[in-house]
Amino acid sequence: MTQLSQESAVDPTASSQAADAVDERLIQNVTLADALRSFVNRVRGGELGMLPVVVGLIVIAIVFQTLQPTFLSSRNLVSITQFAAPVGVISLGIVLVLLLGEIDLSVGSVSGFAAASMAVLIVDKGVSPWLALIVGILVGSVIGLVYAMLFTRVGVPSFVFSLAGLLAFQGALLYVLGTQGTIVLPQDSGLRAFAREKFLTDTQAYVLVALVVVLFVGSQLLTARRRKAAGLTPGSGVLLGIKAVALAIGLGYLTYYMGIARGWSYLPVLFALLVVVMDILLRRTTWGRHVFAVGGNVEAARRAGIRVQGIYVSVFVLCSSFAALGGILLAGQLTSVSQASGTTDTNLTAIAAAVIGGTSLFGGRGSAYSAMLGIVVLQSIQSGLNLMNVDSSIRFIVTGAVLLLAVTIDSVSRKARSSSGRG
């Protein structure tokens, strides 16, 4: 670092003003006041990122809490996070596919088929659980590879091959289960324990929170230093402080509150970890950059020399593998696999979560966090309605209405953005 900053001292591009703050039309964003002003401007202009979905979530929480005081109980929050995780993992794969502007309708069937393959291996064939788990996930990877070949070599649209997959792997699920129907995972299965009974201890949880905060602050400070050394604006230090404190308090309090009940289950922690890793892969690596490029404009990506086919292969393989993993976690959570596994509305839920979280169906826009936010929104709605116990006709109607409400906030803000001339 010091070396770099010395370099910049003799760098001819380093002027008295930072390179990215020269243009006089630019509304500055250095001090805290600047940052606040620019935030207000952004809100007015409708560029809110994830804020609207978060607001939607808060609205949902308030409404259900008013109607049913156990909604925000720590027990219920624990249960929401736990049930959100497996489908969330599937949704994470969907986010990738959507980023490319493609779709995968078969994640439900694939999840069911992979889980059934694993269960059959463990229960009927006596294969070791770890091996069976790996095989289950590999089943997903291979399916993704086949999809990728169909897409890149033959040129079949993703809608079509994944529709074919939706049917075919539903058949394969029935075939693998054969006449026995439901397969129950062994009582002592590690997967069962992992998905159902393992919770972080308080110490573990707080250490984790501290780690997250330290990593966040550390990486931000490092970036600021390097930016300054490179002759660029470093960003407001006060703002960073505020963000760090907010993060620490937010996560800390949530951990404390959930700890009143059983705390963080391993399942949501794994999911959050996957989300963070995918977010870093997407935003901070060459591969992720290329995924966004292909999703934004395949032709431009191709002309830029990106090996577009490789990107498609990696994404389809990842998506199906996440589907398989999600299905396996679902099986662990339910303790069994049946003919109905993955065939119900897993597809729609996974896709809807990604879209509600703000990932575009048309490619190039979205984030790994959208899977997390979207699935939490959907699970909260379902949990709230479960607590209210209304007639199923009303339940369907209300689910639809709440869903609409949660997304409308985002839509209205996006509307503001487009009328002020920003796509």
Partner: protein, 267 residues
């Protein structure tokens, strides 16, 4: 049709095309087109709208496959197809339709396909710094390199596309109407740039409709008309009138008519 001043053979060219054909559905876009470029040479490719210039550029850069004909690079026939293979050879292209990713910001577009990394992660700071440097050499007027390309003006995008071709180390640079959307200052910078590229020994193919610019920087001028080689000139020996006549296919054309009619025509 007009005089063809052939380039002396043996003066080994970096890139040479012979007998290129290309058909799109019912339209025969290119018929038996040949041309070559030497190291340290600027060849201008001119022609009327739809003459097939951009199609030729896209064939060289690997975006389209040609129906017939041969491409040689550094003396050897080019077999690998696709843009990434051609880039690996050392051919950099600024496309007329720019081909930028609207959803990515200026930095990401500039380094697309040639990202700088620090370990496993992208080195955003290095790239941003380098972006400002590149853009400044082109006198670009871009307020921020962190806004998506979608929010740039036409000329700003064009500048980004040109700056892209300076990342990496090509042997041949093709510029398809690079100055079309540029302001006067930026145009002057690009012409300077072309001269600098020639001095460093690169082959340059420049497409432009601006005869003044073409005559200012090109060594040779290749004229296409309706998808065929129509003429080839050495710049030093050519007048604007000759060029326009070769492009339009008639010495008696709307350009000369307008020039005669008005006082301040094409100079």
């Amino acid at each position: 049709m007009t005089q063809l001043t052939k380039r002396p053979v043996g003066e080994g060219s970096v890139l040479s095309l012979t007998g290129i054909h290309k058909r799109f559905g019912a339209v025969q876009a290119l018929t038996d087109v040949s041309m070559d470029v030497g190291a340290g040479e600027v060849v201008a490719l001119v022609g009327d709208n739809g003459a097939g210039k951009s199609t030729l550029v896209k064939i060289i850069s690997g975006v389209y496959a040609h129906d017939a004909g041969e491409i040689r690079f550094d003396g050897a026939p080019v077999t690998a197809s696709g843009p990434s293979a051609r880039q690996d050879l050392g051919i950099a292209t600024v496309f007329q339709d720019l081909a930028l990713c609207d959803n990515l910001d200026v930095v990401a577009n500039l380094f697309l396909g040639q990202e700088r990394s620090r370990g496993a992660l992208l080195d955003e700071i290095e790239m941003e710094k380098e972006s400002w440097r590149l853009l400044r050499t082109l006198s670009a007027k871009i307020p921020s390199v962190r806004i998506p390309i979608a929010g740039l003006s036409g000329g700003q995008r064009q500048t980004v596309a040109i700056a892209r071709s300076l990342v990496g180390s090509p042997k041949v640079v093709m510029l398809d109407e690079p100055t079309a959307a540029l302001g006067v200052a930026q145009t002057a910078e690009v012409l300077n740039l072309v001269e600098r590229l020639r001095e460093t020994g690169l082959g340059v193919i420049l497409i432009s409709h601006n005869m003044a610019d073409v005559q200012a920087v090109a060594d040779r001028i290749v004229v296409l008309r309706l998808g065929r080689n129509a003429a080839e000139f050495r710049t030093a020996e050519t007048s604007t009138e000759q060029l326009v006549a070769a492009i339009t296919g008639a010495s008696d054309n709307v350009v000369t008519a307008r020039a005669q009619r008005t006082a301040g025509g094409l100079s």
